[in-house]
């Protein structure tokens, strides 16, 4: 990848640049290139369809990890009218790899949580590359319990390759807190909408991923672990990640077929990083639609349906 452009989309990006130049030329010089522009536009459209409708699982993984892909805080800023961030797990510290707070969605208060990746190297170091420690998950749980107390729906925006594998994380019970989050989320008496916006890796994603609606962006991935880790564990070779991505069936299209997710949220052509605003508006529309459906239901019915949903996964007997 060079300057945020993947190898496979180079011809398209070059064509788009050419169109842009002609447009500028038209404007600045007053010469009419509309016929040429139209021809190139239609060629670009075909190329776009050609390239983006045939993405391999590994290409999708690359798109999901694009450095300019919108992060949790980007979505919060673009989708919600207002956001007040709440910090800390009340036990050890505030984990910058997990953010959360109260936001207004078209005027209605909701609780939003999600792992936060950095924008650049410095930010990424501060955010621990978006890999939460146990205290991050504990903060998320605290905010979700608070949401239940005040009858606020929960929106979980998930983009995490996994829970942080470190000495302190193990000391503070990474496994225990993930289990605790899964257990408690399953029984919360408020609507929960989870969106896999980028990466959904392992228990680190599921710990904030139990809900009434699971939505997934078109190029996001979600699986038992990252392709690299799968390749490492099964074949002791991280270079086989491409093969692992294929084998794991981790794309949104696979997961919809398995009924693990409810809906695929389409991304702008080429991926969410190419148009943050358009992506956020599509997601906002979906959130409002699902929330309206869920809020019409009594809390007990919500929980019963949620449990039933998970109970059915993997039952083929």
């Amino acid at each position: 990848m060079l300057n945020g452009v993947f190898e496979w989309e180079k011809p398209l990006v070059e064509l788009e640049k050419k169109i842009e130049e002609l447009r500028r030329f038209t404007k600045e010089e007053g010469i009419d290139f509309s016929a040429e522009i139209a021809t190139l536009e239609s060629r670009a459209e075909n190329l776009r369809h050609d390239i983006y409708s045939r993405l391999t699982p590994w290409q999708k993984v690359m798109i999901a990890r694009h450095p300019r892909r919108p992060t949790c805080l980007d979505y919060i800023e673009l989708i919600f009218d207002d956001f007040f961030e709440l910090h800390g797990d009340r036990t050890i510290r505030d984990d910058p790899a997990m953010v959360g707070g109260i936001a207004l969605l078209e005027g209605r208060p909701v609780t939003v949580i999600g792992p936060q990746k950095g924008k650049d190297t410095k930010d990424n170091i501060a955010r621990n590359f978006g890999l939460p420690h146990p205290e991050g998950y504990r903060k998320a749980l605290r905010l979700m319990r608070q949401a239940e107390k005040f009858h606020r729906p929960i929106i979980s925006l998930i983009d995490v390759v996994g829970a942080y594998p470190g000495i302190e994380a193990e000391q503070r019970g990474q496994g225990v807190i993930i289990a605790e989050n899964i257990r408690q989320m399953s029984f919360l008496k408020v609507p929960i909408i989870c969106v896999i916006t980028g990466e959904g890796g392992s228990g680190g994603a599921l710990a904030i991923g139990v809900g009434d609606r699971i939505l997934m962006l078109e190029n996001a991935w979600y699986s038992v672990c990252s392709p690299e880790m799968c390749a490492q564990i099964l074949w002791k070779d991280t270079k086989k990640a491409v093969e692992a991505a294929q084998s794991l069936c981790l794309t949104a299209q696979d997961l919809l077929a398995w009924k693990i997710i409810d809906e695929i949220i389409p991304e702008p052509p080429g991926g969410a990083h190419r148009d943050h605003e358009a992506m956020a508006m599509t997601l906002k529309e979906a959130l409002l639609r699902h929330l309206q459906e869920l809020e019409a239901r009594p809390a007990d019915e919500l929980v019963a349906k949620r449990l039933d949903r998970y109970r059915q996964i993997g039952v083929v007997w």
Binding site: Y164, V176, C230
Partner: protein, 288 residues
């Protein structure tokens, strides 16, 4: 205080605690991987697979757990016929399943059933490391779930002996991950009815099994030196690029960090479970 060293190498090989899942079956003698003593295999088996010199705990199969912990002839296996396929079409998975079935005599990595422990009626489950590392796919998830649902319906306590080396099973992808949610929910529904659940963490209990039903027991016991944690030690070492402190993720580490209630030697386990069942008046309830 933990002493850590900055390693210069990117990858460091960790010496596994042992090379096979149990004492070498074909030999008269077994070498203890901890103290290197040569042990008479028959004696070792009689001693519950514990080295009589250094009390190193070898791994134990699921059926051996039943024999060790439950009253003789009391165990009735449940859901033995539950067999899964290869939902993702993962290459080589069918062969792996077939080999594991032949090697362990089990249909899947988890053995569940109803039995008695010192006269107390209960639901018992054990994970067998010999079956694809004791990992959880859809069948293990379903069996654990059904065990808790059966216990809830019959108002019985549950005792689980876990040993899920790799946690959630790779070969079933997202379906394995979802078993973490499914089993956690079954545990919670059993718990909400006021019923007792005791989990014994044995070597190794990691990943998705540790981060779901194994962590959610009322009382969590561990065998000495059992590897317990979320991320595997190799993954941790490669991430932080440091040598891991000695004893990292062992049962004693988990106890010091507040993750388990007590470390119990294998020869004491039955007695301790009996005491705990007694304190809870059997752990079940006569009426609701």
């Amino acid at each position: 205080m933990l002493i850590v060293f900055w390693g210069k190498q990117k990858y460091v090989t960790i010496k596994p605690q042992e090379t096979s899942s149990g004492p070498v079956a074909d030999g008269l003698w077994t070498r203890c991987p901890s103290c290197s003593s040569l042990l008479y295999t028959k004696e070792l088996t009689k001693n519950l697979n514990v080295c009589n010199r250094c009390s190193y705990h070898f791994r134990m199969g699921a059926w051996d757990r039943v024999k060790h912990l439950l009253d003789s002839e009391s165990f009735q296996e449940m859901d033995r016929d539950l067999e899964g396929g290869n939902p993702l079409g993962f290459s080589g998975y069918e062969e792996k399943l077939a080999n594991s079935r032949e090697k362990t005599g089990l249909t899947e990595a988890c053995l569940t059933g109803e039995g008695r422990l010192s006269g107390y009626q209960l639901v018992f489950g054990a994970i067998d490391f010999g079956f694809i590392g004791g990992t959880m796919g859809t069948v293990v998830g379903e069996k654990v779930c059904r065990a808790f649902e059966y216990a809830l319906a019959k108002r019985l306590p549950v005792v689980m002996v876990s040993a899920g080396g790799g946690g959630a099973r790779m070969h079933e992808g997202i379906l394995s991950l979802m078993q973490m949610a499914k089993t956690s929910q079954a545990v919670e529904r059993h718990s909400q009815a006021g019923l007792l659940y005791i989990c014994v963490l044995t070597d190794p209990t990691m990943g998705g099994i540790y981060a779901s039903f194994a962590s959610l027991a009322d009382v969590i016991l561990a065998e000495p030196r059992a590897l317990i944690g979320f991320a595997g030690p190799r993954v941790v070492e490669e991430t932080i690029r440091q040598k891991l402190p000695s004893g990292f993720q062992r049962a004693e580490f988990a106890l010091n960090n507040g993750m388990v209630d007590a470390i119990i030697e294998r020869k004491e386990l039955r007695k301790v479970l009996t005491r705990l069942l007694l304190y809870h008046d059997g752990g079940g309830r006569q009426s609701c």
